[in-house]
Structures are given as C-alpha cells and as structure tokens.
Symmetry: C2
Subunit: 339 residues, 2 copies
C-alpha cells in the first residue's frame, strides 16, 4: 500500500496525499475528503522508513536518564520506543549516572552535535548545565515530569500539586487526622510540589502539618524502609502514610507488616505514580496514576514537531503539556480503626 496507489484511487498526485496526511497544508476540502476516503478504503498508512529518509534528514532523538526508578524508566522507554518505531525517529538512549556539572556540560555539548532533539526525564531535566548547553546549541528539549526549567523548553507532566492534594483529601475524607508524609528526592521539583499539595490540603482540612510526621525519602525502596521505621516508631504513630512514590509506599507496607500492623486496618498507605510495584504488593496500593507511556509518546511527538518547525524556519511556541492524573483506589487505604 503506497502513497501512489492512494493517489491514483483519489485521482490526485502523491504530493497531495502527502499534504493531507500531514494535515496542515492548503488543500481544498473536497480534495481532502477524496483523499481521506481513498486512505480509509485502502487502509493506507505511510511507511515511516520512507518518510524519514525523504523528509527530515537526521531525526535522531536522545533520551538521557540517570539513577532511574526501574519501573518508571521501563514505562517511559516503552512509550518512547513505541512512538519512535511508529515515526521512524531514531531513539538513542544513554545513561549519565552521577555526572558532575562540568561533565554534564561536556556531554551535552557532544550530544548536541549528534542529535536533533533531547528528551530529559527527571532528575536530569533539572540540570541547568545540561539545559543551558543544549539551548545554546539550539537543540530542542522536552522535559518530562518537571516544572518548566526555562521558558523555551517544552514540558510534559501532571499536576503534582493537585494530585497530591487530592490524595490527601481522600485520606482526610476517610477520617484520618494523623497523616505521615515521606518526601521524594530533593533534586526533583516534583517532590516539592507533592509535598506542597499535601500541606495545602491539610491546611484546607484544618489539620496542622506536624513536622515530626514528615520524613525525607529519596524515592528508593530502601529510603522508604528507613523513613517508615522512624515514622512508626513514634509513640503516637500516624494512622496513614502518604509516600511520594510507589516504591517507598511498598516499603512502608513491608515495615508495617513486620511490626504486626494490618494494612489498611491499622495503617493506611498510599503511593504515587501507579508503577507496576503498586499492583505487585499486597495489599495493592491506592496511588496516583500517571500516564507515563503516553507522556513519553507526547514528549517525542512534541520534539518531532519542534524539530520540523525549526527546519521550516517557523517559530515554535513552547508547550507545557499537562496530563490528567487519576486517583486509583485499591486496598491499601481505609478508614482508621479508632474512628
């Protein structure tokens, strides 16, 4: 099924078909309808290899990550790779663990010679060294899951503040008044926003945020374990714990079980992200669903559009794409025993 067959069937030239499939050109409505009909009838879809060969010369996109949560990363990769294979973008995946700013700068400079765009998941999207270097080379960047680091950078993310405040509201509505919180890694803005959402919802509910119920975590299972031990060792332990991601929430459940606490009857535990950890542990986690794969897909699409526009000499309006999140109620949260 080639563009020529579609063109012949619609009685137009291949070029017109190409214009229709790309949506944005000047094509008369009648012609467009004709082409669309032919496409539907022939069940045509363009050959991405040919598109990439003919069109944008060198659409190599880098996805750089560092110290990732495995579950998060694999979802991100699946989304990005899937999109890449459908659009014939060539995805280059690299890992930059524990780079110093100078190294980041050098690596980013080198990268900017080899790729047409970069996807930056946390925590790398927070690096000033990287984004300034890429910006000065005029390489388009999409940041994943962070507030906009620069005015000229696109973002895909969810509203961490609102999501966290909804989750807190849910715990409050169940009747919890002593809610513990485990913060995420301080090198990511999402951590701060989740905490801010928690605080704001507590205040809205007339609950004082007791600082001794707030523990620093680092998004890892191990850090969750330690934070949970401290939280549950208090004489008046919280009746619910809100962990800033699923791995830490799973750790909280584990600690609770070892202390003979029943989850959720003695302790409610909620997480964030809805990675596969959430449904692997028992009881399954109440958490915030974040459409990670869809976000990766969107990030790549955004990048591709940006590169295209840049090549065409158009100015590209940076986008801040906010995805809808969802509060997923499973079995790890319930009303507190005492009330």
């Amino acid at each position: 099924m080639t563009i020529h067959e579609v063109a012949r069937r619609a009685g137009v030239s291949p070029m017109t078909v190409s214009r229709v499939t790309h949506g944005v050109e000047n094509v008369r409505d009648a012609t467009r309808e004709l082409v669309l009909k032919a496409i539907r009838e022939l069940n045509y879809s363009p050959n991405p290899a040919a598109q990439s060969l003919a069109g944008a010369r060198n659409t190599r996109i880098a996805l750089i990550y560092s110290n990732p949560s495995v579950a998060y990363l694999s979802e991100l990769l699946v989304g990005a790779l899937e999109k890449a294979s459908r659009t014939a973008a060539q995805l280059v995946v690299e890992r930059w663990d524990n780079f110093k700013p100078a190294m980041e700068r050098a690596a980013a400079r080198k990268l900017s010679q080899n790729v047409a765009g970069v996807i930056l998941p946390p925590p790398l999207c927070e690096s000033v060294a990287i984004s300034s270097e890429l910006a000065s080379a005029a390489i388009p960047v999409v940041a994943v899951a962070t507030g906009r680091p620069r005015a000229d950078v696109c973002c895909v993310r969810i509203d961490d503040f609102r999501a966290a405040s909804e989750m807190t509201g849910y715990l409050v509505s169940l009747g919890h008044a002593r809610i513990g919180f485990i913060k995420g890694h301080p090198n990511q803005t999402a951590s701060a926003q989740r905490f801010a959402g928690f605080q704001s919802a507590c205040e809205a509910a007339g609950l004082a945020v007791n600082p001794t119920y707030v523990e620093q975590g680092y998004f890892s299972y191990r850090s969750g374990l330690e934070a949970a031990e401290r939280l549950l060792a208090r004489k008046r332990a919280p009746t619910a714990i809100f962990a800033s991601n699923d791995d830490m929430a799973a750790a909280v459940i584990s600690v609770a079980h070892r202390r003979g606490l029943d989850v959720p009857r003695d302790l409610s535990v909620v997480g964030f992200d809805d990675t596969l950890t959430a449904t692997t542990v028992w009881p399954e986690l109440t958490t915030i669903r974040q459409p990670i794969a869809a976000m990766a897909d969107a990030a790549l699409a955004l990048l591709l559009r940006q590169i295209r526009d840049k090549r065409a000499g158009l100015v590209f309006e940076p986008v801040d794409h906010l995805f809808a999140h969802e509060l997923v109620k499973r079995d790890s949260a319930a009303p507190p025993r005492e009330g």
Copy 2:
C-alpha cells in the same frame, strides 16, 4: 555520514561497504580491512530507514502477548523495541487475552497477511492453533522462553531445567533439607522444566521430594500468596521455598513477614527471572537472572535473518538459541536456623 563517504575513503564502491557491514559476503580480507578502517575512522553507522526502504520491502514484525507478567513484558518490550528502532523493523504489538483456539486460528490467519514474522512469548508460544496457522502461511516465528513447539520454529530461551537445578543445589549447599516448591502456570513448558530441575537436584542430593511441599501456583502474586499460606501452615514447615518466579517469591516473603518469620533467618525464599520485583522487595531476592531484553533482541534478529533468507530463496536452518542464565545471590536465602 553516508555509505558513499565511507566508500570514497576506503577507495571502493558503496556496494562493497554494504557487503562488509553485512558480514556474510565474499570480500577479500584486505578490502574488508580497508573498509572497516574507514568505518571506524568516520564513525559510520548505516541509516536504518534507508536500509529498510531499500532492502526487505515490508519488514513488519508482530509481537503478540497475552496475560503477561507486567515486569516480564516490559523488559521484553524494551528489548524488542530498542532493536526494532535500530534495524528499522516495524514492530506491531498486540494483545490476545483469553482467545479460544478458533479465535486464535482466525487471528493468526489475519495476522499472517499483514506481517513478515511473529515473536511469540509465553504462553502464546505454546498454542498449537497459532503456530500451525502461521506455519501453513509460511510466516517465520520465534518462540520466546519455551521448548521448541515445532521442528521448524526458532526459539530463544534459557535452560530452565539446569537453572532450577542449580538454584536447588544452592539451597541444599546452604544446608536446607525441607524445601518447598511453588510451581508455575501449567500452560507453560518452562514451569514443568523448572519443577523437573528442582526434582532432579533434590534426588541428586539424596533428598526425597515431599509432595506436600509442592504447591501449584500460576505466576501471579496472588497465587503465590495462597501457595505460601498453605506451605507455611504445615506443622513442619519448609526452611526454604523456591518459587517459580519473582512475583510469587515476593508473595512468599510477604506471607512470611505477616507470620512473624524473619527472611532469611527463619525462611529462605528464592525466585526466578530477576525481574525488577526481585530488587524492589526487602530483603532483595536471590533469583535466576534471565537476560530478557537480550533475548527479545536476539529473537528479532533471528526473525529478520530468517525473513531475509526466505526472500533470497535460501533455506533457513531453525535455531534454538540458549542463553546463559545466572544465579544471583542476594539477601533472601541463608543457611537454615537449626543447622
């Protein structure tokens, strides 16, 4: 960096460069060296889009799965998608959950019109309906993680029997004599092989396999929970439990904790697959590492070669690619308390 520049630098024709990069042709050693040198100096790598356009016309590959373990699937997908994006194969991912044999047959027939090859992870690779339908349409198939369903089908897998028997030997060497076993889903041959490996190693160690220490599981966390409850409710409970995958092993740990058992001091628990579950739970699982992503990569490569050979009219020798596994010792297994 195009093939022409390499050719010019090496003083040969582009065609010769192409032959060198594909390895398998008649090229004089001196020429090959020249080309290889030029490739290295210019840091050339072929443009996959151009390759797929010029070469194999329509290399669409399907990856069909059903009822997967999420962790397993995502690793598989990452491997396959990554390879696909490097080779410009177009990967089509579909999910066929709970199809009846007639539906499988119909779906496979339809599929065989649209794709040039199929990757079949478990449990679909066990389906006679699917493989016979694809075979009769002469569509190359690679089965993942299973014994060869047909003589003409390629496989990528590890030696489940040996891996399971090594793991059992390890438990025995730690001093365990009462070892519980949780079987995998009966619809997968790997389950039977893992159990057989367990049995064989027990016998080799002079241990009788007590049938009341063997429970049926289905690879899910939930089934692991139930099997573990039954196992640990015995008056003389096992001192070690070998679960046929990581999810079930994680479930065993959870049950053990709730019963106040310390892992590994009161109970050793080992898993299989080394999915990310293994390092998320605490204590981290001793398990068998299976290079899932590399296997997916190899499966795709095998398929591509097969399709290529088929188009060239060559006969393709079906391959059974056995990957090396690895016994990963972490913290969930230790000598039994009593001795």
